[in-house]
């Protein structure tokens, strides 16, 4: 049989990677009839990736220290080519992500898609919602401006009102009695390493479960 070079390369790769299996397993799947509400999960995923990409660019110039954080952001906004665009997308993208993830949760709730066999998908989803809020909370402090500084002071105080454990939580969040360079450093670490890593892992599990069980159909009167 005569085959072109490309076909040969494809066949070689398919033999080793199982591309055809991937196609039938991942892409050519049957699904119940969906509508636009079903796009919110993948929109959350898109926003997560977009936040990752823009965030990586921001870390090139951002400096997590109280003396330089604010100025480094000013520099990104005024002097870096397209810095304003990247930061603007990251800023608005954060708000959008919280909103889209929340509405995605609402749609899953309303259609009762958290029921058998998708209980775990929901459980992981709640984890994703919390992490997303955590990303918003830790990211807000990073520009080290007045609004963020005082909002974080109050928010950590609130966490400190837990009976018995309050003192410990407050210290763990702030890295000391007050907001300081240590607070900024650990919020930065959480924002760019810990939470994204946890989010990525949970998203992986979430997606695995969705492919395994398929998307739920919209309920009719018999359900």
């Amino acid at each position: 049989m005569q085959s072109t070079l490309w076909q040969k390369i494809y066949a070689w790769l398919d033999e080793r990677l199982g591309l055809d299996n991937m196609y039938t397993g991942l892409l050519d799947r049957p699904e119940p009839l969906g509508n636009w509400w079903n796009t919110l999960g993948s929109a959350s995923l898109f926003l997560f990736l977009l936040q990752g990409a823009t965030g990586i660019f921001l870390t090139v110039y951002y400096t997590p220290s109280p003396d330089h954080a604010y100025d480094s952001i000013q520099y990104i906004m005024n002097d870096v080519a397209f810095g304003w665009l990247v930061r603007g997308i990251h800023h608005w993208g954060a708000s959008f992500m919280v909103m889209v993830v929340f509405i995605h949760m609402l749609r899953v709730f309303i259609t009762g898609s958290y029921k058998y066999p998708r209980e775990l998908t929901w459980l992981i989803g709640v984890g994703l919602l919390l992490m997303t809020l955590g990303m918003g909370f830790t990211g807000y402090l990073l520009p080290w401006h007045q609004m963020a500084y005082w909002a974080t002071t109050v928010a950590t105080q609130i966490a400190g009102s837990v009976p018995f454990l309050g003192e410990f939580i407050l210290k763990a969040l702030r890295g000391g009695p007050d907001l300081s360079a240590l607070t900024l450093q650990r919020f930065f670490a959480a924002h760019i390493w810990m939470l994204p890593a946890a989010l990525a892992a949970l998203i992986g599990a979430h997606l695995y479960l969705i492919i395994k069980h398929g998307e739920s159909a919209y309920p009719d009167k018999e359900d």
């Binding site: 119940p32 604010y70 807000y140 928010a155 966490a159 009719d220």
Partner: protein
């Protein structure tokens, strides 16, 4: 759930799949359009709305009203309203931990609490009602977030409507719905839907009333200088007000003159390499914040001086000193203090005189400084205050102010040989265009706004 209903669910699902679509390309197509739409919207927002600016964090400025990200606003508002409840309101952790904890717990446990196989909407009225009211609460609390919860003493009607909209109606609705569901198990679906709808309408109405009644508090946030040029100009203005009396307009003073208690004191010229090369930005900011108390320079930082400068303001001064005096920095092009005057054009207070006064005069002529009680902080004070007021009379070229800025002191009639008022500013001379602006302004009758000035201007006929 027993094996039989599981089997039924799975079989039904297989049947719906046969009538369904393919993930590729049907679903993916919609997903891509959605994500792309969001991406476009983000670019538009980033381009046209940008990112809201706020001044640099200043740990000493405890008067700042904190404001979290908008999606946490509803929690802050809830806490504020909860704090209004007598007795219970004092037990903070109920609102900060217990209630949000219960809400999250319910969310986590939802699949295990609601174990029925029913998925159709009318068979799940109770959870859907509770969730809808929660969402309405979050929205209304967010809308009311900026309205003060209390207003000191007396009856404050927006305060009452807020508590009704944000606490009383939702709690009552949650309790009624729970009772309907678990105690009077026979409540019809219709009654529950009506309860939910009526509660939601009440919450929205009282929120609307709050928004209509509440006095709009104007939020004044200090303007943020963002470009380098704006920061340098902001620094120059601050420097002119706070530092000129000792260090001189261009920082080259080496012997302080005319400052009480420091007369004749020798200082280093702060515009020279000795100072600029040995102090980096951080130490420079520290010197300004902490002052040189032993040598006579008082502290300027808010932490040491309640009326002092914010951290960001001190940084502006440092930026100004660097770019204007330090020869290692390239001096950017700075807009002139005021727009140049054409022939026949009359300057106004707003556009021309106010910036001049701010830069050259206010440092000595402001409340708290004894310069013949002549305050130059407002239009009224400039025209009326002072021991020998008025210092300027409209249309009078011999006004004392015009004389002293042109280097002619006013002699004291009672003490021959002494001056009543020395030349102004005492240790430097104003540039010719500044003096010209003063002259034209006084001669034209001291117009305040640019419009008034424009009406007085004459265009020279060519």
């Amino acid at each position: 759930m027993n094996e039989e209903s599981k089997k039924k669910i799975n079989e039904k699902y297989e049947r719906t799949l046969l009538k369904g679509e393919r993930f590729w390309p049907d679903s993916i197509f919609k997903d891509v359009i959605m994500s792309f739409g969001i991406f476009l919207l983000l670019i538009l927002l980033a381009t046209f709305l940008g990112v809201h600016d706020s001044p640099k964090a200043d740990p000493s400025d405890t008067s700042y009203v904190p404001r979290p990200e908008w999606y946490f606003l509803f929690l802050f508002k809830f806490l504020a309203l909860y704090g209004q409840i007598p007795v219970l309101g004092k037990i903070e952790f109920i609102a900060t931990i217990i209630i949000p904890g219960i809400a999250m717990g319910l969310l986590v446990l939802l699949p295990f609490l609601d174990k029925t196989p029913y998925r159709y909407y009318t068979k799940r009225i109770f959870p859907i009602s509770i969730m809808s009211l929660l969402v309405v609460s979050m929205v209304t609390l967010t809308l009311m977030a900026d309205i003060p919860t209390t207003a000191g003493e007396g009856i404050y009607i927006p305060g009452i409507t807020q508590v009704i909209a944000g606490l009383i109606v939702p709690s009552a609705a949650f309790i009624i719905l729970t009772l309907m569901n678990f105690v009077f198990k026979t409540t019809s679906t219709k009654v529950m839907i009506w309860t939910t709808v009526v509660s939601a309408v009440l919450m929205i109405t009282f929120t609307g009333a709050t928004l209509a009644l509440a006095p709009v508090t104007e939020k004044t946030e200090a303007a943020v200088a963002s470009t380098l040029e704006e920061r340098i100009v902001a620094g120059q203005d601050l420097y002119s007000v706070h530092c000129v009396e000792c260090h001189g307009e261009d920082g080259k003073v080496t012997t302080i003159e005319g400052v009480e208690g420091l007369e004749g004191k020798a200082v280093m010229a702060i515009n020279g390499k000795d100072v600029l090369y040995t102090l980096n930005d951080a130490t420079m900011a520290e010197v300004i914040a902490y002052g040189r108390p032993d040598a006579g320079m008082n502290p300027f930082g808010k932490a040491y001086n309640p009326e002092g400068l914010a951290k960001g303001e001190i940084d502006y001064i440092v930026t100004f000193m660097r770019y204007m005096w330090d020869d290692r920095f390239e001096r950017p092009v700075i807009k002139p203090l005021f727009p140049a005057l054409a022939a026949g054009e009359v300057p106004s207070y707003d556009v021309h005189i106010a910036p001049i006064v701010k830069r050259y005069c206010v440092s000595c002529h402001r409340p708290g400084k004894d310069s013949n009680a002549y305050l130059m902080d407002t239009y009224e004070n400039i025209t009326t205050s002072g021991d020998n007021a008025p210092s300027i009379k409209a249309g009078d070229a011999n006004s004392p102010l015009l004389q002293v800025i042109q280097g002619t002191p006013i002699p004291d009639p009672d003490n021959p040989g002494q001056n009543l008022v020395g030349v102004m500013p005492p240790k430097s001379t104003l540039k010719a265009d500044v003096i010209d602006a003063w002259m034209r302004w006084v001669m034209a009758g001291m117009p305040r706004t640019a419009e008034e000035a424009a009406a007085l201007s004459t265009t020279p006929t060519p």
